[in-house]
């Protein structure tokens, strides 16, 4: 099929609008054997922190009716080990690369950006302002002022465009989005998983983030609201399992999308999803995604 799935994202061309979300692609090495690289526009690393993080005690992931709850707790090797052990092979991949960074404190975001700044093969940095699995009282993404500050300070030292990843657990996403824009964010990613709680065995609690199908209608609504107040590119994330889900995200105002939980179930999903997307376009008589330019403002 002569159908072109490529999209322009912050001045770069993604082969498809499908990004692999942070936390479900590891540092990319373990997922690569399952991937058709042509089906993926960009890959996002697990969120990297300044210090290595052990993560939360198990259990860390469980299926509940209709969703998945994870409480990984940002387990990662820390930025130094990441640079030493993983970055070189990541940078050899054909798709665009997004490095997700997470600070325990506000000041750590610019530090992380600075440490990564010399590796120009990185295409974008994503600021994880919204991890639900930390001990903090509030997420950064729940405090517009804090988002603004973090982004502003990171922007100063980052040679890479910045994507701010937001949380659904806010009263007004528009406020947060506007603060990020004011701080200098180049794009927004909506949404991270939703903070929740379950009991997985007699009285045993798991606090974590909900992901999977129910996030889609939530994310669509937040994207629609956000689209009304900003023309920043938006990455739509949450509950994408099929090509048709991506169409809905475009209709709501997203410019590209990212796949999370589906990769846990089906690590080879991107190829299927890209194929479905092509079929949908073909059957509607389109040969590229530019038919959505009106809704996305591209």
């Amino acid at each position: 099929m002569g159908i072109n799935l490529s999209v322009n994202f912050l001045g770069k061309k993604l082969t498809t609008p499908v990004i692999l979300a942070s936390g479900v692609s590891g540092y990319s090495d373990e997922l690569i054997p399952f991937l058709d690289p042509n089906s993926v526009g960009a890959i996002t690393t697990k969120t990297i922190t300044l210090q290595p993080r052990e993560g939360n005690p198990p259990p860390r992931i469980i299926e509940v009716p209709g969703g998945i709850i994870n409480s990984i707790g940002l387990a990662n090797m820390g930025v130094a080990a990441f640079i030493k052990e993983k970055l070189a092979s990541l940078l050899k991949l054909p798709m665009k690369k997004i490095v997700s960074i997470g600070g325990a404190k506000e000041e750590e975001f610019p530090l992380l950006a600075r440490m990564l700044s010399e590796f120009r093969g990185i295409d974008f940095l994503e600021l994880n302002l919204s991890c639900p699995n930390l001990k903090k009282q509030k997420l950064f993404a729940q405090e517009p002022e804090t988002c603004l500050k973090i982004i502003k300070n990171t922007k100063r030292v980052s040679p890479f465009p910045l994507i701010a990843k937001l949380s659904p657990q806010v009263t007004d996403i528009k406020e947060v989005a506007l603060a990020c824009e004011e701080g200098g964010a180049d794009a927004l990613n909506l949404i991270n998983s939703l903070p929740v709680l379950c009991y997985y065995a007699a009285g045993k609690k798991l606090r974590g983030g909900l992901s999977g199908p129910p996030l889609k209608p939530l994310s669509l609504r937040l994207i629609e609201e956000t689209r009304k107040v900003t023309s920043l590119p938006l990455i739509g994330t949450g509950g994408i399992y099929a090509g048709k889900d991506i169409i809905d995200y475009f209709l709501a105002g997203a410019n590209c999308v990212s796949l999370g939980s589906v990769l846990l179930l089906e690590p080879s999903a991107p190829a299927r999803i890209a194929k479905e997307l092509k079929e949908i376009l073909a059957s509607s008589g389109y040969d590229s995604l530019s038919c959505f330019s009106s809704s996305t403002g591209l």
């Binding site: 936390g23 479900v24 692609s25 590891g26 373990e30 997922l31 054997p33 399952f34 697990k46 052990e54 993560g55 005690p57 198990p58 259990p59 860390r60 992931i61 469980i62 299926e63 009716p65 209709g66 969703g67 998945i68 994870n70 990984i72 387990a75 997985y200 999977g212 199908p213 399992y241 939980s261 589906v262 990769l263 846990l264 179930l265 089906e266 690590p267 080879s268």
Partner: protein, 255 residues
């Protein structure tokens, strides 16, 4: 590593335990004991994560693998309702297997459905001329499946309610028989609940037996990506789906 296999059997052994048999193609890598498969139970939104199961046996000639499972929740329930001839999607074989060599004189200690990887281990050890001692513990007589597959003179059975074999927890029965095993065996292989594995490790340490244990933990991807399935070791958390499920018990940071 991703396969669509045909179900050649899915047989109830008692109301809660089933034996699933699957036809594998010749390209399916011969699995090793301790490895597991990650089974896709159904489609979203019904089922969103796969379910991990040890390989219970591998018949290389007939190209069949078997999975022995217990119904504990929604996923295993749905699995039990699948019919012969239906297709099933799985990832595998996954994980790091048990280790032994010609000098190993093994005792396999399993509890409940934890016997699954040990059954496969038994079969493969016998192929290399090793005849392991076996001690299996169950809740009650109804659960004591497959006992006829093990040589009676090296097979010990216990049930918690005493309705078959010796009465008691499998670890207590092991302790009782330690004098018998002393000087005979040199390595314990075990699979079951974490508390049981910890007790077995204590016994093994005291007796200076080597000890390998296979863990269960809730899993996401099953292929090392999500960090969902860890166990605490002396070198920090390790992934059960990748560095495990089999670990040298000395490595584990027991609580």
């Amino acid at each position: 590593m991703e396969w669509n296999l045909t179900i050649t059997g899915n047989t109830p052994l008692n109301p809660s335990h089933f034996l699933l048999e699957l036809q594998v193609p010749s390209s399916f890598p011969p699995p090793r004991p301790g490895q597991f498969v990650h089974i896709r139970i159904g489609e979203p939104p019904c089922f969103l994560l796969r379910r991990p199961f040890s390989i219970f046996s591998f018949q290389s000639k007939k190209r069949r693998i078997e999975v022995f499972y217990r119904i504990v929740g929604r996923g295993t329930k749905a699995l039990s309702q699948k019919k012969k001839e239906e297709k099933i999607n799985l990832l595998g074989p996954l994980g790091t297997p048990f280790n032994w060599d010609t000098g190993t004189v093994p005792l396999l200690v399993g509890g409940g459905r934890g016997i699954a990887p040990l059954h496969f281990l038994y079969q493969e050890m016998k192929k290399t001329g090793i005849e392991p001692y076996v001690l299996f513990g169950f809740k009650n007589a109804e659960d004591t499946v497959f006992r006829e597959r093990f040589s009676p003179e090296k097979f010990l059975l216990s049930t918690e309610d005493g309705s078959a074999g010796e009465k008691g927890k499998v670890t207590d029965v092991l302790k009782k028989h330690i004098p018998y095993f002393q000087g005979k065996i040199n390595k314990i292989f075990s699979c079951g609940a974490k508390e049981m594995l910890q007790e077995i490790h204590l016994i093994a340490k005291k007796e200076k037996f080597a000890c390998e244990v296979s863990f269960e933990q809730f899993m996401g991807c099953g292929i090392g990506i999500c960090q969902g399935c860890v166990v605490k070791t002396k070198q920090g958390y390790k992934r059960i789906c990748r560095e495990g499920p089999v670990f040298n018990a000395d490595e584990i940071a027991w609580e």
